[in-house]
Amino acid sequence: MNDTDLTRLEEIAEKVRETIIEMLVAAGSGHTAGPLGMADIFTAFYFHILRHDPQNPEWEERDRLILSNGHIVPVRYAAMAHAGYFPISECLTLRKFGSRLQGHPERERLPGLETTSGPLGEGLPQAAGMAYALRMDGKKNRIYCLMGDGEQDEGIVWEAVLWAGKQKFSNLTAVIDRNNIQIDGMTEDIMPLESLRAKYEAFNWHVLEVNGNDIRAFITAVDEAKAIYEKPVVIIAHTIPGKGVPEIEFDYHWHGKPPTAEEAKRFLSEIRTMGGKVPHEYA
């Protein structure tokens, strides 16, 4: 990937962030911090990593992107819309009656979602089931499962981690959004997770760590994961919750609420400065 490609991806990620803010304001409820923090990773997936076809979401040869922590789905909807799965304007129907864009994703309603999620911990076992079945059939599709860090509190995650370790998958890559927040506070206060690396290693996974807001670094990590055949790989992606809007970055209070219209105006302006790289008057 050259610098032009990277710049293009970074620009798309900013557009995805803008769409997230716009859709959350229109919805009047939903989660802000997680989707903003994961905008770079979703952009990397939909615009560089995945084998997929937005015009043919059921394409059999596609890679599977499983979103386990369904509450951050606004970032997935935004990335899918920008990738051409559906019109960007449809994003404003988020959480509205009759919308395909449910508050938590439902696979039967919108092609391309792969799974229904929201209740935490259920993405990895489904991804592992897919990895197993595809391997049985000699298929080459790759399966990626995105999880939250607070979600690691759920017992079923570790049932699936244990089982996937046993299976020595070469086609399964998990990504943990390590943003250190959950609804009630900081993960290490609510339920300490560290050392996450040591836990996954003990369960027979290969662990990579990366700055999840660095698109180039993330793509490199996924490339490395693909080269590891002996074990399933988990990428612990350190992200900044609320990334792109400095006034809410790292603040767990923004885990589960949307911005007001007034705040959104300010947030959009902050996103358009691209972290201070662009002067406010041009943003």
Binding site: E106, Y132, A133, I156, E159, W163
Partner: protein, 332 residues
Amino acid sequence: MPNESAHLVENLFASDITQAPTRDGFGVGTVEAGRADAQVVVLCADLAESTRADWFQKEFPDRFIEVGIAEQNMAALAAGMALVGKVPFIASYAAFNPGRNYEQIRTTIALAEMNVKVCGMHAGVSVGPDGATHQMLEDIGLMRMLPNMTVIAPGDAEEARKAVVAAASIDGPVYIRFGRSATPVFTTPETPFEIGKALTLFEPRDGEPQVAILSTGALGYTALVAAKQLSDEGVRTLVLHCPTIKPLDREAVIAVAKRAGRVVTLEEHQAAGGFGSAVAEVLVEECPVPMRLVGVRNQFGQSGTPEELLAHYGLDAVAVVAAVRGVLSREE
């Protein structure tokens, strides 16, 4: 008298009637389904022998998946496998599957409309000595409340085999309930079975029935025994066996209620929320008649032999006869 078109066994009321647990039907049925469809797989949570999943494992070792003692994981793994075209059967005790993994079944299987067959073994008090923790009495209620879920409680091992094969052939979530202890095999390979269809097992020799006993699960045989006794005592009795609890055969249920005017339901499950409730939901709207629900009344089970427990909780033929007498004595 036994309904001829049900093709029940010849020695229906003889003491030498063949006995087998309905879980045997899971073992035989999955092998049969597995031969017919290479996409059928069986997942098991460290109970391969007692669920009879090992019968499939012996025939199809590559399509048997051991998940360890992790029923929640098993449900979601199966959903994932169904997402790429497999037809997974997940087997464990009903107390854990769907007892423990209800939410995974609700979200990843029922809501997501996944082609997964949830198989709960050791349902009811007839589990026996294991006691209340393992005697699942709430699974029918849990499963029939879920949209998209088909719910079947086969009457014997032969019907269980047919139910498993039929479940594999339809696209969508199914719950099938099995028992641990051996019960009479009263149906034959010729006995009709179709998901969603009830079957008349017993009819009065002459005239219209005074009472209809509606049964599900292995207590279908208990209903037959009670009906024979009642019939010998001059009570014109009909038995409608309903292996499919959801979708309930509404037409058949309404028809027998209209004919008999009195209904008794029978199940090895809580009376609240189970099969009797499902029947009552239909009849209260379409054909209200006096009813008695024979089931467990707001209690957990305990250790004992199956016979002791079925008698103690009022689930034997004595209790059914008493319920029929009760409903007949009621003036309406």
